[in-house]
């Protein structure tokens, strides 16, 4: 098997005495768009800086391909990578000079620099801004320059630290889809950090979740979204309903779990008496006027106690002994009259309840 593009062993970073990062092992294969997800201060930016070879780790090894990175080859490998900083700094020259900085550092010939410049200026809509100075840009314009100067390098590995912040919604969505195309077409390996679930889901296949400097979950995006490794991860990925309960009896593969105020049939192993935590995503809760016959096993009647608009999607809070959050479209809300006080039925499939033994 070919060596992964990037491999990390026992990587540690310690700042003024406290361990900021502590990663046993991490690998990245070519062409696998991966997102790093994690709360503020969990060490994501630090990891990216280390992977870009910009800081010396306090301990541990980094491999690019077969080679361990050391003082001798670090410039070479650092030029195979481009890192987009979360807090960009612009050099006090023109936007143009800022964008071509990396190519100039690599002593790329002029005509190719011009070509690259044209390309990214188009992609990031910077044509009219090239002769401006960075401090004359708006926040989103500046971020586009920041993106452009990383993308122009076409590195083997692109590390993006919150690349879409400050971008307006239209540009963001356009950019995400063109990035997606570019990533699949050129199999440009991309590792990025974002705090927005949709961006993560749209761009990445693999999701690495960090907590307190450690990787706590690493798998497919879908897997992380459906089966978060714990409470904190669950909160992070937007699971609003988190219930604690106990297995009452086994029903073959499934089990009946009693929670405060009700009971669920869930897909969980474990003997009766075991404590479990149930995670239910609001998108997985089906709302209807009455119980409909379908494959849905868990039905609860309840009263809507809160309605929050998310634009044209709405987040409902249902009281049916316990609180259950459900996401509905504006259409459904109108059709079903889902306002505070309305009595409705909520259905949850056993398979979409993620149960974790405590």
């Amino acid at each position: 098997m070919a060596a992964p593009l990037l491999k990390v062993e026992n990587l540690k970073q310690i700042y003024s005495g406290s361990t900021i990062l502590d990663i046993d092992s991490f690998e990245l294969n070519s062409g696998e768009p991966t997102v790093i997800f994690g709360p503020n201060g969990s060490g994501k930016s630090t990891l990216l800086r280390l992977l870009a070879l910009l800081e010396r780790p306090s301990a541990g090894k980094i491999f690019y391909g077969e080679s361990e990175v050391g003082p001798k080859n670090s410039l070479f490998f650092s030029r195979e990578v481009a890192l987009l900083l979360q807090r960009p700094i612009f050099f006090s020259s023109s936007v143009r000079e800022n964008i071509i900085f990396g190519l100039k550092a690599r002593k790329v010939e002029k005509s190719r620099i011009e070509e690259g410049l044209k390309e990214v200026a188009l992609l990031f809509k910077l044509e009219s801004l090239l002769s401006k100075r960075p401090h004359e840009l708006s926040g989103g314009q500046a971020q586009r320059v920041n993106l452009a100067r990383a993308f122009i390098l076409k590195p083997k590995l692109l590390l993006l630290d919150e690349p879409f912040s400050a971008l307006d919604a239209a540009i963001r969505e356009e950019l995400i889809s063109s990035l997606k195309r570019a990533i699949t077409k050129t199999s440009q390996t991309t590792l990025f950090v974002t705090h927005h679930r949709e961006e993560a889901a749209l761009l990445a296949k693999r999701m690495v979740v960090m907590l307190d400097g450690k990787i706590v979950q690493d798998g497919g995006v879908d897997e992380v979204f459906t089966k978060p490794a714990g409470l904190e991860v669950a909160k992070l990925i937007g699971i609003e309903t988190i219930l604690h309960g106990r297995i009452e009896e086994r029903l073959g593969e499934l089990a009946k779990v009693i929670v405060d105020g009700g009971s669920f049939i869930v897909d969980v192993s474990g003997a009766p008496g075991n404590e479990v935590t149930l995670f239910i995503r609001p998108e997985d809760v089906f709302i209807a006027k009455e119980r409909v016959s379908s494959s849905i096993r868990n039905w609860f009647e309840g009263e809507i106690v809160e309605v929050n608009s998310l634009g044209r999607l709405f987040l409902l809070t249902l009281n049916s002994g316990f609180h259950l959050k459900a996401m509905v479209t504006g259409l459904a809300r109108e059709e079903l009259g889902l306002d505070v006080g309305a009595k409705v039925w909520a259905g949850v499939k056993s398979s979409s309840i993620h149960a974790v033994k405590e």
């Binding site: 800086r49 910009l54 890192l83 900083l85 006090s92 900085f101 990396g102 390098l153």
Partner: protein, 239 residues
């Protein structure tokens, strides 16, 4: 007032006649202070960078010494170097006392703390992540340091100007180790003092004008580089 006007007239005459003596002195002045500035920059800028960028035990002490070095009296520098360079001194065998070389040495000692100290201050005031940013885009360490210097140019060029201005106009040290010997170590400042002591104020003024023109020209050029593209300021936040 009279004297001042007479001085300017005399100055014009001397300048226009391009007195060969004056031309020689001017050349020597430029050579000595120019090379001293160059040496001071070549040592001071890397040193300033190093002190600004690296933390090591005793760094603050070194920084203090550099800063206090800005207050090194030229006469004292001259005196100590003289004590070293005199025949009776430990470096007497080099036989460099009363040579332009000794003068360059003295001026380097004077300019170095200025250049180092201000490079340190200018670089230290930058956003530390500027190096990170340059390296993130693939700059080598050397390239990143160049970026740092470019971003700190307001300060470092001011340092160069202060250094050059300080030593081209300095008298205490060059007089002590150079000796103001005609055709050998006489530079503009020592010539000015001599003319003044001889009561020939017009000539002194004329030489002063040459000296100032020289330092003005050099510093004007440097200011132009320094201020190039530094139109960051101001937005209208204070109006």
């Amino acid at each position: 007032m009279d004297l001042i006007i007479k001085g300017f007239k005399e100055a014009a005459k001397i300048l226009l006649s391009l007195d060969s003596q004056v031309v020689e002195i001017t050349k020597l002045t430029l050579k000595i202070s120019g090379s001293a500035t160059l040496v001071a920059l070549l040592i001071g800028i890397p040193l300033g960078l190093f002190l600004a960028l690296y933390r090591f035990p005793g760094r603050r002490l070194v920084a203090s010494l550099i800063n206090t070095g800005m207050g090194l009296p030229p006469v004292v520098v001259g005196l100590f170097l003289a004590l070293l360079f005199w025949r009776s001194g430990p470096l007497g065998f080099l036989e460099i006392m009363y040579t332009p070389f000794a003068m360059v040495a003295a001026q380097v000692v004077i300019a170095l703390p200025l250049v180092t100290g201000f490079t340190m201050a200018a670089v230290g005031a930058l956003d530390p992540d500027i190096i990170l940013q340059a390296r993130a885009l693939g700059a080598s360490k050397a390239q990143a340091l160049l970026v740092v210097l470019r971003e700190a140019r307001l300060g470092t060029l001011a340092a160069a100007m202060a250094g050059f201005g300080g030593i081209i106009s300095e008298i205490g040290a060059v007089l002590m180790v150079g000796g103001n010997i005609k055709n050998q170590t006489r530079v503009l400042t020592t010539a000015i003092v001599l003319e003044t002591r001889m009561g020939r104020f017009e000539a002194a003024i004329a030489l002063s004008i040459i000296l100032m023109t020289l330092s003005f020209t050099v510093n004007y050029l440097l200011t132009t580089i320094q201020q190039r593209g530094s139109n960051n300021w101001p937005r209208r936040y204070l109006r």
